[in-house]
């Protein structure tokens, strides 16, 4: 049911992509219609190098995301729980957060060249903040009565984190992970694009400098589709992990 509606939405979007150049709103030469992109995509997926690049991108993405989420959750919880730590780090966090990964590219290359680690540095730097901020807002959302209940039953810090704070923050964390997943993908591709580490991004760079417009759009579509898959996965995890939450249980009853 939901899948059918989603497919309908996508179909409408693709139809729009076909119509815009066909109607001459932009030139086909610069914005190829969906059918032309599909043809280029067909060529791409028959190329084995494409799959290798895709594998590289996914590796960078998955590793980067895992590190960012792990670090974001741990730091977020620790900073929120330990007294004064939040005050102490607030200004530093706010200072570091808006520094764009792209400005750090020379530094990443300087440290790690075009290796995976270079990509990871940029990916982790950018997606870490997404998780951190969501965790900090999520922790703040703990219901005072729930917190008091836990304290009155002598739950220690760790037990309170695990049984009260974490479930409360989880919906926020899930949103953070979804945000971070996209940012990580974006940065993986961007880093590959700019510094030439192997992956889809490097492929996009080649297509760009080669004036291969349909191929370029085909690769953009691939990143979009990756984002779509990642979100679908995140949603199913959520349906399981947040079955108790209003946002999920609200979907069941009328």
């Amino acid at each position: 049911m939901n899948a059918a509606l989603g497919a309908a939405g996508l179909a409408a979007f693709l139809a729009l992509g076909e119509a815009v150049p066909r109607l001459g709103i932009v030139k086909e030469q610069f914005f190829p219609p969906t059918s032309r992109i599909a043809r280029a995509l067909g060529d791409e997926i028959t190329d084995s190098a494409f799959w290798t690049d895709l594998g590289d991108t996914l590796t960078g993405w998955a590793l980067g995301l895992a590190i960012a989420v792990g670090a974001g959750v741990v730091v977020g919880v620790v900073v929120s729980v330990v007294p004064y730590l939040r005050e102490a780090t607030a200004s530093t966090i706010e200072f570091l957060r808006p520094i764009p990964s792209v400005a750090l590219i020379p530094l990443a290359v300087l440290l790690y060249g075009t290796e995976l680690r270079s990509v990871l540095l940029l990916v982790v730097y950018a997606s870490f903040w997404q998780v951190l901020v969501q965790v900090m807002y999520g922790v703040r959302d703990v219901d005072p009565v729930a917190e008091e209940t836990a304290r009155s039953y002598g739950l220690g810090t760790w037990a309170r984190i695990r049984h009260v704070l974490w479930p409360t923050a989880l919906p926020y964390v899930m949103t953070g992970v979804r945000l971070a997943a996209a940012v990580a993908l974006i940065l993986t591709v961007t880093a590959e694009l700019v510094i030439g580490a192997p992956g889809l991004g490097a492929r996009i760079a080649v297509a760009q400098t080669s004036q291969a417009v349909p191929e370029l759009y085909a690769l953009i579509v691939v990143t979009g589709l990756l984002g779509l898959l990642i979100n679908t996965a995140a949603r199913s995890v959520e349906r399981y992990a947040l079955a108790w939450h209003q946002s999920v249980r609200g979907e069941v009853t009328v």
């Binding site: 009565v145 729930a146 008091e148 209940t149 009155s152 002598g154 037990a159 108790w244």
Partner: protein
């Protein structure tokens, strides 16, 4: 082992969001070890505030609470609290059984023992079937009974209950009253019980504390000289019960009207 609760000169002022409320002005009283005391008072007089201060959940503005001679500055071990906001005090992400079990895990009881305690507690509040449901799948009264079951399973030495039976029907309420008295007598625990039901206060308590309206002080401490062994039908029909309940009723009405506190005297026999 069981400890007395001493409240002395307790004062609590809430401040913030442009409102300043002196919820509790000056409260001094004692609950002996192993005693069952009921607390009544007008709505908004500070009963919940008092209980939270006693549980170490809220820092008093001045005055102090002693448990077994030691100053309470955080939730003491061995104390269980049944919150008035029962709905919000259950964790919606845990099933009923898990909600009841959680404090027991904290106590590092064995898995088997925990299972036993949870089953017993749910059984005793009539919710044996509901262990696998989530709290939000239960009715209000059922949720409240889960919160009670959690406190009972915890096997506390001191039990603070804030209008714990407000949402259950009369019959269940009577059953739960008897359950509390039975547990109190068996385990020798110290119980402080807030209720709005005067009959309940007299039926349950060894002593009834009547608070005045805000700013709150103790208006009266009434010894309930009914026999230890109580019975829903006979006790409630006893003439002494009627006398006591009338006395409490009068005191509360006086408290609401803001009449001066009279000297601490037992009700006339």
């Amino acid at each position: 082992m069981h400890a007395s609760l001493v409240v002395s000169g307790l004062r609590k002022v809430y401040e913030g969001s442009g409102r300043r409320v002196e919820a509790v002005r000056d409260l001094t009283f004692t609950v002996d070890a192993g005693e069952l005391v009921c607390l009544v008072g007008p709505s908004g007089c500070g009963k919940t505030t008092l209980l939270k201060c006693m549980a170490g959940l809220l820092a008093p503005t001045s005055g102090e609470v002693l448990l077994g001679g030691r100053r309470v500055s955080g939730p003491p071990p061995g104390m269980a609290f049944v919150f008035q906001e029962y709905g919000r005090s259950l964790f919606p992400w845990m099933r009923v059984g898990e909600n009841v079990e959680l404090p027991l895990r904290q106590k590092r009881l064995s898995r088997a023992r925990r299972g036993e305690l949870v089953a017993d507690a749910l059984e005793s509040v009539g919710l044996a079937d509901a262990a696998r449901a989530y709290p939000w799948q239960l009715s209000g009264g059922m949720q409240q009974r889960v919160a009670i079951a959690r406190a009972l399973a915890y096997e506390p030495e001191v039990l603070l209950m804030d209008e714990p039976f407000a949402a259950v029907d009369a019959q269940t309420r009577a059953d739960l009253e008897d359950l509390v008295r039975r547990l109190w007598r068996q385990r020798g625990i110290t119980v402080l019980f807030v209720t709005h039901d005067i009959d309940e206060a007299v039926y349950l308590g060894e002593r009834v504390l009547v608070l005045t309206a805000s700013p709150t002080v103790v208006r009266e401490q009434l010894k309930v000289d009914l026999p230890e062994e109580r019975d829903q039908l006979r006790t409630r029909a006893a003439p002494r019960f009627a006398e006591l309940r009338t006395r409490v009723y009068e005191q509360i009405q006086a408290a609401k009207r803001g009449e001066p506190v009279v000297e601490d005297a037992p009700p006339p026999r």
